[in-house]
Symmetry: C2
Subunit: 349 residues, 2 copies
Amino acid sequence: MASSGPADLPRIRDQVGRALDDFLDRQRVLLSGIGGDMVACLDAITDLLAGGKRLRPAFCYWGWRAFGGQDCPQILAASAALELLHASALVHDDVMDGSDTRRGQPAVHRRFAARHDAESWRGPSEGFGAGAAILIGDLLLAWTDELFHASGLPQAALRHGQPVLDAMRTEVISGQYLDLAGQASGSTTVASALRVVVYKAAKYTVERPLHLGLALAEGASHQDPGHQDPGHQDPGHQDPGQARLAAAFTGYGIPLGVAFQLRDDILGMFGDPAQTGKPVSDDVREGKRTVLVALARERASRAEALAECELMIDKRVREALSAVQDAPITAQAMSALAELAVAATARCG
Amino acid sequence: MASSGPADLPRIRDQVGRALDDFLDRQRVLLSGIGGDMVACLDAITDLLAGGKRLRPAFCYWGWRAFGGQDCPQILAASAALELLHASALVHDDVMDGSDTRRGQPAVHRRFAARHDAESWRGPSEGFGAGAAILIGDLLLAWTDELFHASGLPQAALRHGQPVLDAMRTEVISGQYLDLAGQASGSTTVASALRVVVYKAAKYTVERPLHLGLALAEGASHQDPGHQDPGHQDPGHQDPGQARLAAAFTGYGIPLGVAFQLRDDILGMFGDPAQTGKPVSDDVREGKRTVLVALARERASRAEALAECELMIDKRVREALSAVQDAPITAQAMSALAELAVAATARCG
């Protein structure tokens, strides 16, 4: 995944990382002014954000390019906002799951609990760690919006993208709640696990980032500096090309996103902790109702479940690729989506 | 506070409540589509939002009016977004503090823990309750942004308001972290408690809502439908009238916001639970380092601390009122700010 293929991933990662660094530099000045203690929060955020694979920004970027948007720093900054959203979800997820590690480092709540211990502060260190992580996740969620609007994209673009960003946030948080409730109520069928995966992973990781890039590009195409055509001010308006492309992105995004999550399940159960950044079998130990765990329960053997899971991944990647093969996009965007499909489901994690 | 004075509070509350209801109705359709379980989240949010005093929306509305903005449903919808932000903070605060009640009802995490118990679900019910409340607070935080942008205010207004909303979110979350860290590290002086109050309450409850209304009105005043003056596209630009008014709002907002919090501290320690919605002395029991608790510690008697706290409130309300008496605003806005100062610090809670 380090080589520079048609999806331009190394450069996208580099520029998304730079947009995040610039944003955090500005926040550091603000937070230091509020109180010296805030620097500890910013340090934790900086460390966490350094580790992301930038998959969601890459899909957002290619949704933009596929509709004819030109490469520019502004779309990469807007895409980078999705890394803040994702980091927020991870920090809160780790509190809820009581996870110890994330991206090869202590989870944020553990980091702050350790600080509490080291300083011999009063009260239980776990409570302090959880509280700090809840607030840091909140900061990251609020900053998603801030970076999106400060990306420098034209107002018309942002206005068209906003409803997609709104849907994306509601869907991923809802998916997390359905997961939590399903785990508690004990519904552990493959079918119910797949329903959670659609909202918590598939729409959120692939479909919505592509839709966001598309909506931003469609909005930007209406932009005429110094003048806005009143006929194009309704963000609900879609031209036929956009509607067709949005449908193709759904056809690509949902199966690919499910395949991405299935790969993540496999890596969580069988992967190399040095690569995945989390201990093997955390999911099983925590009683997580992943599709793989549900399969293993239904099939009675891990090896059988693994084989079936690999088949499910293959089938979905092929389905994803066939959904975009007739889409009205450039050959370059087509090649990029093919590379991203491989990157998102690669065995190396 | 129920009478219709110059601040028009009963009507503002009514319309803010209606904007929230409309927003929640739209979300209910969406959430039901994602999964039937999501309705439980929406019900909890609806019940929580029904109880708010709408103080922040009222300040936002009067910031708008003071700069010459006309009364319209759009400014009330944008103001209502602040109720979602505040509800998010309350839900997460209650998880962190382990509070049992909020606005006279079980706190959200307790409500979901009770549901877990009632359904005899698996795992610890407290963990489920905390997880659900973290996610519900996240939804409310994400929806703040969504309602703000869906308020129907002109794009130019929203663009000018955005940086104020950004600052407000960062400040209140930072204030909460400073509070948490201060409580853990044990700094319990009146001075350090006051520093937390400035960010967690004063700027957040009074100054920033006024600034937000002002920035929205200033942006809207640049709006010329179908045409944007390129000279007015920089949201950082402030006209001299706005700068003067922003300074007056700071002079009014900071002392009044501190007085508001001091009143809240007093009500928390001595108030009527039927009116405050939370049990008396929760703050003391939880080892909260409120200004009043710090005063009680320094003064050695509750009665002395209470008397001094009342003096601090009086002094700050007078300071607040004198800060706006020469501000370039209408007589109606001036009277409204005077009424709001009383409403925010009234002994009845």
